[in-house]
Symmetry: none
Subunit: 72 residues, 2 copies
DNA sequence: TGAGATTTGGGTAATTCGGGGC
DNA sequence: CTTGTCCGAATTACCCAAATCT
């Protein structure tokens, strides 16, 4: 399998060959916090948590955005 | 109308006389969005994202088509 | 020629979406 | 103000086997 390499127009990497960021589903994040998945989506809507949208509109959450919130 | 492209076995394809660009496999795109590889192919079938076909029928995806969709 | 990983397609169960109201 | 729930519609995940790629 080839490495992931998504580049910007200026040639810089969005995701480099050595980086594979893990994305979490709303349900996975909900279980981490002990809340309903819809609550997680509301956090995204209100700007509390950044999210990535699939082409169809579903949300995925970066592990690096979620992990710091669990420690506090 | 997208241009006709001839895909090499290593996933690269010819842009110009001296330029070549690598394409992303379904598995790579799937990891970028945190979904199943089959879901990525479904996006191509429903026209949500453009795709390139190898002579054997497998799908490949252009980085420049995928990268803009990863916005937060 | 062979082994292991990946891709593809079909079918079905589970998840997610948004709106609305409590 | 935040959260959990109900609803229908849309989207996705997991099962399998066969084909393709490394």
């Amino acid at each position: 399998m080839s490495p992931i390499r998504v580049v910007n127009p200026d040639g810089t990497f969005i995701i480099g060959p050595e980086t594979t960021e893990r994305l979490l589903t709303p349900g996975e994040v909900a279980r981490l916090f002990g809340v309903d998945p819809k609550t997680v989506n509301r956090w995204a809507l209100t700007g509390r948590i950044p999210s990535v949208r699939t082409p169809s509109g579903q949300r995925r959450y970066r592990e690096t955005d979620i992990a710091p919130l669990l420690t506090t």
